[in-house]
């Protein structure tokens, strides 16, 4: 029998039942970042493949949500900071070993690019839009000419952003549940899935919806594949990681993880999208909302469960 008594202490899981320093802000920020990454990635991809008229929603309209998502995400991140007045310190240095630093700098690139991309397509939504000032018109003209370069920057930076949302967790070996490199691709896939769900929702074009439903199905398949590998990796690892993954295999996070993330967030929408592709009439909002819900829950549950996992000593 092993008993541990702490005579004094703070921020110690035996006093504060678990270390919990990241609350709703970080998972929200990661979800919105991942969603924006998904939207921008597909916009850039299909633009570069010359499909901008075929997949008009994906290339021109849906990415307008990205700057909004990024702005809300940044607000959430800002709310998480305890020393808010020093926020700018993020931008006085580049620290290659720190995922937070990578994220801050990636956002510094992705956010303006997404705003420019939205500005270039604003007439799609508001046909009478007028850039009142000459310099604004010139600027738009300049970027219009450089659109291809812009799309490449967007493609790469959004992929980095999507992967980063997972690396932020996986870089911490102190929280064994996070400490797997699968988090990067898993969160990227989850962001791409959320992005394609939004396109399906917004699009009025049948061919485009079909294309993105197929894409989403494929991505959900990849996510499930990654999740299975995550479990295999953990179960074959050291005791701390076995204990950590048991949070999802019988532990307190089991029902949430399998119920919300895997079943409601992946398997059910995949079945619904599959049925729709087969020609059944399914209200499109249902799978879309489920995918977004699953994507949000993935972030929250991994964030909370990870903080409950620890080294034993």
């Amino acid at each position: 029998m092993r008993e541990e008594i702490i005579v004094s202490g703070r921020n110690n899981p035996l006093i504060d039942p678990q270390l919990h320093v990241w609350h709703w802000e970080i998972p929200t920020y990661l979800f919105l970042g991942g969603l924006a990454a998904g939207l921008l990635f597909f916009a850039a991809l299909y633009y570069l493949r010359g499909k901008e008229n075929e997949y008009r929603t994906a290339v021109k309209i849906a990415p307008m949500l990205a700057p909004i998502a990024l702005a809300l995400g940044l607000i959430a991140l800002f709310l998480d900071l305890h020393h808010k007045l020093y926020f700018w310190r993020l931008y006085t240095t580049i620290r290659l070993e720190s995922p937070m630093s990578w994220g801050a700098w990636t956002l510094m690139i992705v956010t303006p690019v997404s705003i420019i991309w939205s500005a270039l397509h604003i007439k799609e939504l508001f046909p009478n839009w007028d850039w009142k000032f000459d310099f604004a018109k010139e600027l738009i003209g300049f970027f219009q000419k450089k659109k291809k370069v812009l799309a490449w920057i967007m493609l790469i930076s959004s992929a980095i952003l999507g992967v980063y949302t997972g690396i932020l967790f996986s870089a911490f070996n102190a929280r064994p549940l996070w400490n797997t490199s699968i988090m990067g691709p898993l969160f990227l896939a989850s962001g791409l899935s959320a992005g394609s769900a939004v396109v399906i929702w917004m699009s009025k074009n049948h061919a485009e919806r079909k294309r993105f439903a197929q894409l989403d199905l494929m991505i959900i398949g990849i996510e499930l594949f990654l999740i299975i590998h995550m479990f295999m990796g953990f179960l074959a690892s050291t005791q701390v990681q076995i204990d950590a993954v048991n949070l999802f295999l019988g532990g307190p996070y089991t029902a949430q993880f399998w119920g919300f993330v895997v079943i409601l967030g992946m398997i059910v929408p995949a079945i619904l999208e599959g049925l729709e592709l087969k020609g059944y009439k399914i209200p499109v909002a249902i799978p879309v909302v489920l995918v977004l819900f699953g994507s949000v829950m993935l972030r929250f549950i991994i964030s909370n469960a990870g903080q409950a996992s620890r080294w034993l000593y």
């Binding site: 029998m1 008594i5 202490g9 320093v21 020093y86 995922p99």
Partner: protein, 177 residues
């Protein structure tokens, strides 16, 4: 120079004087502490064994907290002491999550705080407050690179362990067993 601390688990009586000394010396806000005492009992009754440990930041040589800090606020100072510059810290808590020993906390003023090995005292040639105050003299502090320092001497003589070395952080608190 490599500052380190050795703590004798056989001599410690768990009085928590080190905790109070630190709180006083470093003006640690009420309800927080930079060091704490753990009492662990192992075995099955009546064969029980108790270990007392005064714990704090391990001033790791391979510190995940320094690595993950996005602003460079967490850094290595003299003799490998891990410090936080409060005017550079944005309070993102990344370092708190990255520390396997849960040694850090958010100071009510917003920046992240933790044990400094009393660098301000060490610079003046004094011992850290916890070491100086310990009534059983169970803590040793000094430079590991100096073979004649208190801490080097005691580590030569005694058996010791570090906490979760398998986390790869190269901790610099040595517990004499």
């Amino acid at each position: 120079m490599r500052y380190a601390m050795a703590i004798d688990t056989k001599k410690c009586v768990g009085c928590s004087d080190c905790v109070v000394a630190c709180q006083t010396e470093n003006d640690v806000p009420i309800g927080y502490c930079r060091d704490w005492v753990v009492e662990i009992t192992n075995g099955t009754y009546p064969q029980l064994e108790t270990e007392l440990r005064s714990e704090r930041c391990n001033h790791c040589e391979n510190s995940p907290c320094v690595r993950c800090c996005p602003t460079g606020a967490s850094h290595y100072s003299e003799g490998g002491i891990v410090m936080v510059t409060k005017n550079e810290c944005i309070g993102c808590s990344a370092c708190i999550t990255s520390c396997p020993y849960d040694a850090r906390f958010v100071h009510p003023e917003g920046y992240v705080d933790k044990c400094t090995f009393c660098l301000h005292r060490v610079k003046k040639g004094m011992k850290p407050a916890c070491v100086a105050v310990c009534p059983t003299k169970c803590m040793y502090f000094g430079d590991l690179d100096d073979p004649r320092s208190e801490v080097s001497e005691v580590l030569k003589k005694r058996k010791y362990k570090t906490l979760i070395p398998e986390a790869g952080t190269k901790p610099q608190l040595y517990f004499l067993i």
